[in-house]
């Protein structure tokens, strides 16, 4: 940035934090007097301002108590040609400032300080906070024009040479300040426009864009460091997104829950959405992340928010503590912060849109895959009915079933639930279905089949931390014998021979993908007549109604017992079960997919029909593996 040709016009502000002792308070009042003298304030005025700063600083030292005695008070002076403002920040319990303090009697020992301040200043305000208060003292000054008039010159007559020189000097200062302000604002706009133009390029990287913008901000505000933090997606942390130097990158800062107290300068700014200036020497918190800028660092922290939405924070400043503070600097930082916030929100919105489109497409693909997974037609066996039921929750899951007709009036039934949703789950389901059909050509032993599936799928499943629960049941329809093995799946329900009570086969086994070499023991049982067998996923038993009650194992067992009576076809029972589950769920949302396979005997079981399998697989299993009796 080119330096203005006229007198430099940094904001005429002096801010000094001082050690809480009387000698330091005195040094500060002398420093402020000298500062105001440099601004051209007349000698007779200087005494008043020095007096006010001295009184306020002495009070700040004298009345601080307990741990607050270690905190540094701050004295500030803000000079403009029309007003002088003095501020002293104290860390005391504070006091009630009377609107107009009466003159203390001459025979009093104390109480003159505030009276003197009110007497010499036009406006005195005391802003009270928790252990931090600010005494603001303002005095209007006569402008050059009124000064000339007050010096006894008629506006119609030419002023004296001395008055003209003074007037000219003040106008020069004013013009230099305006020129500097204009330059700064135009540089800010130029930087913003440059970045806007770059954003138009398709290949613009957001991080590069932010980096360029922040470097411009450093130049414009004479800062030598910055730390940009962004809000984490869960809104609980502020994490460093960019920093001018690697040593400024620190751990994410926790943001408090609603009503909690934020810890640290940036967290406080984010929580209050209010910008603040800081001087690290005034911070007593040793864990303050901004201590990374050095022991005397100072700067400005501004929230990045737009339309009430917080995006992050930006901190800029100087390591040696002489960061220029003033309204113009503040405004430039705010302008950059707002621009950054808008860009971040716009970028986030675009990402969300893209993500939504990807998710929608993925869902579509997964639904297509899942639709293909479920057999279009199940083997239809003479005298028996085999039906499948499947209902999807909002997201596509990995529930699926399959049935393979074997030689010798046997059926191989499988039901599985791939942990997870979407395309990955559907892909594993497809793979597993294919593998099962391949393995079933060599063996129909449920234990061997599950061991084989686990061995083949373990590497892929464990590499993506997924697993599959599955159950394989070999049904010998002639003997009404079940042989079942389970990989962490829900137990099958059947009506045992000689009983009318539904029973489950409590088989244990680890889900597929948990351990590389796992044995899957099988159990056998005899079905009663008419035969009834239900294989299902946990979506059935976990169905939850609006009162939060689950359908449960017992209810499903009772349903089997009551509904599987002679004369009801498998198809009718399938509809009844689906209807019962929906009725139970009521208005509650469906949490999980539901899938089941239901095998029933059409008649009372006394008449057997010739068996014909539509899908024929030649079995090559050893008879020893099938200890079934006819």
């Amino acid at each position: 940035m080119a330096a203005p040709s006229l007198e430099p016009a940094r904001p005429a502000t002096l801010r000094l934090a001082f050690s809480p002792d009387i000698a330091s308070a005195r040094e500060v009042s002398v420093a402020i007097r000298n500062f105001l003298a440099e601004q051209g304030v007349a000698e007779k005025e200087l005494f008043s301002y020095e007096l006010c700063i001295a009184e306020a600083s002495n009070n700040a030292v004298e009345y601080a108590e307990g741990p607050c005695r270690k905190l540094k008070p701050i004295a500030e002076a803000l000079f403009t040609p029309t007003q002088i403002e003095l501020r002293v920040t104290d860390h005391t319990a504070g006091f009630d400032l009377m609107e107009k303090i009466p003159p203390p009697p001459p025979m009093t020992d104390r109480g003159r300080g505030l009276f003197l301040i009110q007497s010499v200043m036009d406006e005195v305000r005391y802003l009270r906070g928790t252990n931090e208060n600010i005494l603001v003292m303002r005095k209007k000054r006569r402008t050059a024009r009124t000064a000339v008039a007050a010096a006894g010159h008629d506006p119609g007559n030419p002023p004296s040479l001395e008055a003209s020189h003074r007037l000219l000097a003040e106008i020069r200062v004013k013009m230099a300040r305006m020129s500097d302000e204009l330059l700064l604002r135009s540089e800010t706009l130029a930087s913003v426009f440059r970045c806007c133009a770059e954003l138009g390029h398709i290949d613009t990287n957001t991080e590069i864009f932010e980096g360029k913008l922040l470097v411009d901000l450093l130049h414009l505000t004479s800062a030598d460091w910055y730390v940009l933090r962004t809000l984490s997606p869960d809104g609980r942390k502020l994490q460093v997104a960019a920093a001018s130097e690697p040593d400024l990158v620190s751990d994410p800062i926790d943001l408090p829950a609603a009503g909690g107290r934020p810890v640290g300068i940036e967290a406080t700014v984010a929580s209050s959405q209010t910008p603040t200036r800081f001087d690290i020497r005034e911070s007593i918190d040793l864990s303050e992340p901004l201590r990374a800028v050095g022991p005397v660092g100072a700067g400005h922290v501004c929230p990045l928010c737009f339309g009430g939405t917080l995006v992050g924070t930006i901190a800029v400043g100087r390591r040696n503590g002489d960061f220029p503070l003033g309204r113009l600097q503040d405004e430039v930082i705010w302008a950059f912060a707002e621009f950054l916030a808008i860009q971040a929100l716009s970028h986030r919105r675009k990402k969300t849109e893209v993500h939504s489109r990807v998710v929608a497409r993925e869902l579509e693909i997964a639904r297509d895959i899942q639709h293909l997974l479920l057999p279009r037609a199940l083997p239809q066996l003479p005298g028996f009915g085999l039906v499948g039921g499947w209902q999807s929750a909002r997201e596509v899951g990995g529930d699926f079933y399959d049935a393979i007709a074997l030689e010798g009036e046997s059926l191989l039934l499988m039901i599985a639930d791939v942990m997870g949703k979407g395309v990955p789950a559907a892909l594993f389901a497809t793979t597993m279905r294919g593998l099962l059909r391949g393995l079933a050509e060599r063996s129909s032993d449920p234990s061997q089949l599950l061991s084989g599936l686990n061995r083949l799928l373990y590497k892929e499943l464990s590499s993506v931390a997924m697993f599959i629960t599955a159950q394989i049941v070999l049904v010998d329809l002639q003997a009404r014998q079940l042989t079942a093995a389970s990989a962490g799946h829900c137990p099958p329900i059947f009506i045992p021979a000689g009983r009318r009570r539904a029973s489950t086969l409590p088989i244990r086994g680890l889900p597929l993908g948990v351990m590389p070499h796992t044995a899957y023991p099988h159990q056998t049982a005899r079905m009663g007549s008419p035969a009834a067998l239900l294989l299902y996923t946990d979506g059935l038993t976990d169905t939850r109604n609006s009162a939060g009650i689950t359908y449960g194992q017992q209810r499903l067992n009772e349903w089997m017992q009551e509904q599987t009576i002679p004369g009801r076809s498998a198809m009718e029972l399938r509809d009844r079960l689906a209807s019962d589950l929906n009725l139970f769920r009521g208005d509650a949302e469906m949490d999980d997919d539901q899938a089941f396979l239901l095998l029933t005997e059409d008649q009372d079981g006394s008449a057997k029909r010739p068996f014909a399998a539509p899908h024929h697989f030649k079995l090559r299993h050893s008879p020893a593996l099938f200890p079934l009796s006819s």
Binding site: R26, P103, P106, M107, R110, F115, L116
Partner: protein, 101 residues
Amino acid sequence: MKIESNGDSLCVSEIQELTAVTSASFRDGVGYAINATTSVIEIDLAQTRFMDSSGLGALFALYRATSKRDGLVLRLLNPVPEIEQLLELTQMQQLFEIVRR
């Protein structure tokens, strides 16, 4: 700060400033210099460029310590206009004899 004792008169001069920092030494210094024969105390403020309420408090303490002694005169010499205004503003000019030489 310079304290000169000349018989029954005591003159305190070369006071650069009378503030919270210097008021205690001023009070103690002058307090030690006063003796039983002191009848005139002159505080020369000609070089005093700055005074705050603590400085005023130190002058008031001196007034209180000496007011009980009959006949003892306490004078403030040559205050600069700003300090004279300060004394007027706080009505403390009523307590002292202010003299210009």
